[in-house]
Amino acid sequence: MILPYTEDLRKYRSFPVTGALLLLNFLIFIFLLNAGGETPMNSPLLEEKAMVLSGRLYYQFLQSLPAEQLYLRPTWVRQVHSDDLEQVEVLGAYALRDRNFMEQASEQSFRGDQVQIEAWQKDVESFKDSSSQQLAYRFGLTSLESSPLSWITYQFAHSGWMHLLSNSVFLAIIGATVESLCGGLSLVLIYTLGGIAGGLGFLLMSAHGTVPMVGASASISALLAFYCVAEPRRRIRYLYFVSPLPHHFGAIYLPTLLMIPLFLVTDAASLWAIPEGLGSGVAYSAHLGGAFLGLILGCAYRQLRWPQRQLLRDF
């Protein structure tokens, strides 16, 4: 196990803005947790038989699309055989992520078992209603819900305790580091702009998706990338632990640039490894979008003259 642990972190009172961001994330999470509505995860649409039915109906929907819209869908979707129920079930899982299909599902007429189709259309409506009531959808970012405010609110919303905790650890470490480097205002700027860039990256990769994105990961990626470029030669202290034996645990100083393969290259590889049209639970495209902006801001920071750097630090 190896974790970054800057020595400055012990002087937590020196990082008020980082502390404020952490507190904001925590408070918003508590608020969302208490105000959460009925979960759509109990919907009958998510059962196996309903998935097969969704797949059959989605297959008919695809056949009705013009060629230019059909080719926007992943290749494997177009290769599904309607006779193979296993493939149809997988197609049904994808169908629930297709915004265009879900919007038209209730009104469109389908061929087949009309009794099942009628019940399915009612389930779709109630699924959409319960999903829209979920705070993850209202505060998160999707191609369905992309109001100006959601670009900001999604950065402070999290899907669970582990999500919040992992992001908070990284925010504490890297936020304190960036704040000590260039001040609280820059930290907030990078955090917010990085989140917006991450949102852009996410929407570019899932323009037709219905799954919302929440979390501060894109903002944290921006801070990480900013610091890697702004201070490439600085060494960061890492704590390592191999075993309790003597000399098998301790501190080691590694260059900042090591964070690039550790986090950013891994995100790129993970994004590339996801099959077309599917998600993985982690918005790697948002991480990369935020990191890209962080790299640009880092380069801009290095171009600033020394007096201006000093001014930012003193703010």
């Binding site: 997988v90 061929r111 078992d113 009794v115 550790l262 994004l271 590339w272 490894a273 099959p275």
Partner: protein
């Protein structure tokens, strides 16, 4: 010599640095493999993609390691831990490219043996594992203090455990080889046929396509096929025929409906599509107070005729039941399923004849039916 802990930490750092790069190189193959397995669990293309991905991972690891060893005489982790890889026993200023490739190749191949060859770093006198000895290299430290040689006890213990492990691996490999050969002879790896859209419980050769659903529904009413089979047949008709789907398919779905509401919806759909025999059949099945007179005098469907047969057996109309059985048994798929009812009808008829012997004369048809049964089964 370098300390073991430094070498281990260097390995850990190298893993952290190299694995994202290797992952990036393999990501495309992994994506392809996942896509193939998405649509088919045992996709051959998926397995091939996996294999190619492993080959790429291996090759990229070897090349990355070789490049660092050639240019800097150390991997990134070794650089951080002040470790270098040098020529041994013949001192030279730099490692050759061949040495770097050889060392990297054997280093990576050590993982095929679950990393056990690395234990030689602990046991060997000069802490040279196989990959070091094969490439004439030695790992040294630039720190002021260097690692001592292992104790004789350490060397003996680790060596003996390694030899035991290699023996066990060889044994397992031999067993796997034998098992694979055995399975090959038993056609375990033979290509399986694609799943059919129709129910496998009713072979296609035993029933014509025209009244397949009717036959399956009749078998379902006889409890000879499962509800999943009936659903599969009905769904096939509903989803392939679309708007031309027959009322019979909806009737079949009503038989396996999970709730009463759903059942009523299916029955309503049946009667919306068909006002005659099928609708009457639906009402007969689902409304318990309906008599068979609702089914009409000249039913066409096998299911209707079967239900009439059941009613005839229940009410003691054995000759009529026998006639119904013989008529239904002309369908190949129903022949063996109705054999029990044939025997029941004849047996009941025989009992009836014996019970009423003398009080009323037996008809020629009844006696003929009983005699035919006796001849068929060799009953005295």
């Amino acid at each position: 010599m370098a300390f073991v802990r430094d070498r281990f930490l260097a390995f850990f750092l190298d893993f952290m640095i190299f694995s994202p790069v290797v992952s990036l190189c393999c990501a495309g193959f992994l994506r392809q493999a996942k896509t193939f397995f998405l649509l088919q669990n045992d996709s051959l293309e998926g397995y091939i993609s996996w294999a190619l991905m492993l080959v790429v991972a291996f090759v990229v690891s070897v090349l990355l390691q070789s490049a660092f060893l050639f240019f800097w005489q150390a991997t990134p982790g070794q650089l951080f831990m002040q470790i270098r890889v040098v020529n041994y026993p013949v001192p030279r200023s730099r490692l050759t490219l061949g040495q770097c490739l050889q060392r990297s190749l054997f280093w990576n191949m050590s993982f095929l043996l679950l990393g056990v060859p690395f234990l030689e770093v602990v046991s060997h006198l000069r802490r040279r594992a196989f990959y070091d000895r094969a490439s004439d290299t030695l790992v040294v430290t630039h720190k002021q203090v260097c690692a001592p040689a292992p104790l004789p006890f350490e060397t003996r213990m680790v060596s003996s455990w390694m030899h035991l492990f290699y023996f066990a691996m060889a044994l397992v490999a031999a067993m796997l080889f034998g098992r694979t050969y055995f399975l090959l002879q038993k056609d375990y790896f033979a290509q399986t046929e694609q799943k059919a859209a129709l129910c496998a419980e009713v072979p296609a050769s035993e029933v014509s396509e025209h009244h397949r659903l009717d036959a399956v529904m009749t078998l379902f009413l006889m409890n000879k096929v499962s509800s999943d089979c009936l659903v599969q047949e009905a769904d096939h008709e509903l989803w392939s025929e679309g708007d031309n789907a027959s009322a019979l398919a909806y009737l079949a779905k009503s038989l396996v409906a999970e709730t009463l509401t759903e059942q009523r919806k299916y029955v309503a759909k049946v009667c919306a599509l068909d006002k005659k025999e099928i609708c009457q059949l639906a009402h007969y099945i689902h409304d318990e107070d309906q008599g068979t007179q609702i089914l009409g005098e000249h039913p066409i469907l096998l299911s209707t005729r079967f239900l009439i047969l059941e009613d005839q057996l229940e009410n003691g109309h054995y000759m009529a039941a026998l006639s119904s059985v013989q008529s239904l048994q002309k369908e190949k798929v129903l022949k063996s399923a109705l054999e029990k009812r044939y025997v029941s009808a004849v047996w009941a008829l025989n009992e009836h004849l014996q019970h009423h012997h003398g009080r009323e004369p037996a008809s020629a048809d009844e006696q003929t039916a009983v005699q035919e049964f006796k001849d068929k089964y060799g009953v005295p």
